[in-house]
């Protein structure tokens, strides 16, 4: 009986070790795919930060919540890549004086509106669903941007 139990435990440990190894390898692969993109984005942000004065960004944003969120949502919708990149870019936008509503709309649109994967979404889930989902996600990014700014003012 005892040797069997021991075998079972060993097998469970081996199974967990195998799953752990696969999880670490998967994460390492994901990070290795992400890192060049993140480093490239940070290099670009650093260059833009040194090259362009803060006032340049502000001319696109009129300190109007609706307009700023719209611009943020448009930029977020046409951008693609890991959300990690959007956080880095959004953080730097914020530091450069871009409003929180615009940055929020940008972050939300980046992850909820999928222009790049739209053809695959159309094919697998249907034309009407894909179009309605992306369109409502675009509008909601603007609404979330405005509401987040308002809530942050209150709390």
């Amino acid at each position: 009986m005892r040797p069997e139990l021991k075998t079972d435990r060993t097998s469970l440990n081996d199974d967990f070790a195998g799953r752990m190894t696969r999880a670490v390898v998967k994460s390492a692969r994901a990070m290795s795919r992400l890192l060049p993109i993140i480093i490239g984005a940070i290099l670009l942000v650093s260059l833009i930060n040194s090259l362009i004065p803060k006032s340049f960004y502000l001319q696109f944003f009129r300190r109007n919540m609706l307009f700023d969120s719209l611009i943020g949502s448009v930029i977020g919708s046409i951008s693609a890549g890991s959300p990690l990149t959007s956080y880095v870019l959004g953080g730097e936008f914020l530091k450069n004086g871009v409003s929180i509503s615009a940055v929020t709309a940008f972050l939300v649109a980046w992850v909820t509106v999928g222009m790049v994967q739209l053809p695959v979404e159309l094919m697998t889930l249907g034309r009407r669903f894909a179009i309605v989902r992306n369109l409502t996600a675009f509008i909601f990014a603007i609404v979330v941007g405005i509401m987040t700014m308002l809530i942050l003012h209150i709390v």
């Binding site: 290099l43 990690l84 956080y87 249907g126 979330v144 942050l152």
Partner: protein, 158 residues
């Protein structure tokens, strides 16, 4: 990234001051975010270890209001590139899961638990909490709206 490298090489020869400033700023950001990347790696590994496709499919089998909560949870906890999930979502659709739940699932995929340290670092705890709650709320609104706007047999119109 190679295009940005080429740009930096060009700037190195054209404007040393701009190159120095940019590289300086780059390393300032890198030094700040390296510890966060380590935390992200650990969280990604935990997510990869425990959140499998089988777990996600189980969530979609729930019924009633409970289902919304499970779909939100499944969306938040799901990992990997979105295009890997489309075939599974199409399969769930074929099995009768309505489009609204799929939309809510996709919307909540935007909330990335492993990336929370980065979000906290850049935007602070209050902002992250407010944004997360807003996104969960609007994911349900979008799901309900899509249930109304997209009939269950609309896939046939593709």
């Amino acid at each position: 990234m190679s295009a940005v490298f080429l740009l930096y090489i060009l700037i190195f020869f054209v404007d040393r001051s701009l190159f120095g400033n940019s590289i300086g700023f780059f390393f300032t950001i890198i030094v700040r975010i390296v510890p966060i990347f380590l935390l992200v790696f650990i969280l990604m590994t935990i997510a990869n270890l425990f959140i499998t496709r089988r777990v996600i499919v189980k969530y979609f089998r729930k019924r009633g209001i409970e289902k919304w909560f499970f779909v939100i949870g499944a969306g938040i906890l799901s990992t990997g590139p979105i295009y890997l999930w489309y075939p599974l979502l199409a399969e769930l659709r074929e099995k009768g899961v309505s489009y609204g739940y799929l939309a809510t699932f996709l919307y909540n995929r935007a909330i990335k638990v492993p990336l929370l340290p980065v979000a906290l670092f850049y935007f602070g705890l209050k902002y992250v909490i407010v944004l997360t709650l807003m996104m969960i709320f609007f994911s349900v609104i979008q799901g309900m709206l899509i249930n109304k706007l997209v009939p269950t047999d609309s896939r046939l119109s593709t």
